[in-house]
Amino acid sequence: MRGKARGVSTTIRWLLQAATGILLLLLLGVHMVANHFIAEGGIRTYDQVIAYLSHPVIWTWEALFLIIVTFHAMLGVRSVLFDLGPSPEAEKKINLGVAIGGIGAIVYGLWLLSQLR
């Protein structure tokens, strides 16, 4: 592939995509089971969400999940967009766009979680 002089190499990016993907198997698996399948009625009410997040280990787990899933998603979006064959300038915009989008989502998500402690 192209672009050898672009900071992180393609191989490392692919490894990060793969490693975060495998981590997500566990993180998302637990998230789905906890919030959906064992939650009474299939989805938690407000009080139940607060009670669930009041446990520090669970809170940390959800925060970790937020960070990893956003990272994996933004890396993925980037590689889909790069496959469309953008110009070097467009590539820069894509990099900036996914970085801002990703950091924005993480900051917002952490803020949300901090409100629900």
Partner: protein
């Protein structure tokens, strides 16, 4: 990087329309395209999900009204589609990672179908569960 990927990428450079030309492609390509489609679908879901979660900051009434809505048949249908996306993308992802590490390369087709069988079972179990809560 997985072989199937390096084979398909030059194709993708032709623009987004080439993604949808599935005729004459083999399972590997369809798996790649579906992996991409489900990945993007999950990103869309994540964005909507994070937006909806902001209701939690507006207290019990706002969130619990959403919870009632989320139990409607339309939402359950969307949930089923979401579950399909997660299972396909996640378990196909396992195959991509294994094969790229050199595990199961010669039997990657069997690996694919075994994982898809597992996905189908989990999907059926999940959908059954959804209608019985």
């Amino acid at each position: 990087m997985s072989q199937q990927m390096s084979v398909s990428r030059p194709f993708l450079r032709r623009g987004w329309r080439a993604w949808f030309q599935v005729r004459g492609r083999h399972v590997g390509y369809i798996a790649f395209a579906l992996n991409r489609l489900t990945g993007l679908g999950l990103v869309l879901y994540l964005i909507l999900h994070l937006m909806v979660l902001s209701l939690l900051t507006r207290g019990p009434n706002a969130w619990d009204a959403f919870v009632r809505l989320a139990k409607s048949p339309l939402f359950l249908l969307l949930d089923g589609i979401l579950l399909f996306g997660i299972l396909f993308h996640g378990l196909n992802g396992v195959r991509v990672v294994l094969v790229s590490m050199g595990i199961g390369v010669r039997r990657h087709k069997e690996l694919f179908w075994a994982l898809m069988g597992l996905a189908a079972l989990l999907l059926l179990g999940g959908v059954w569960g959804m209608w019985h809560v």
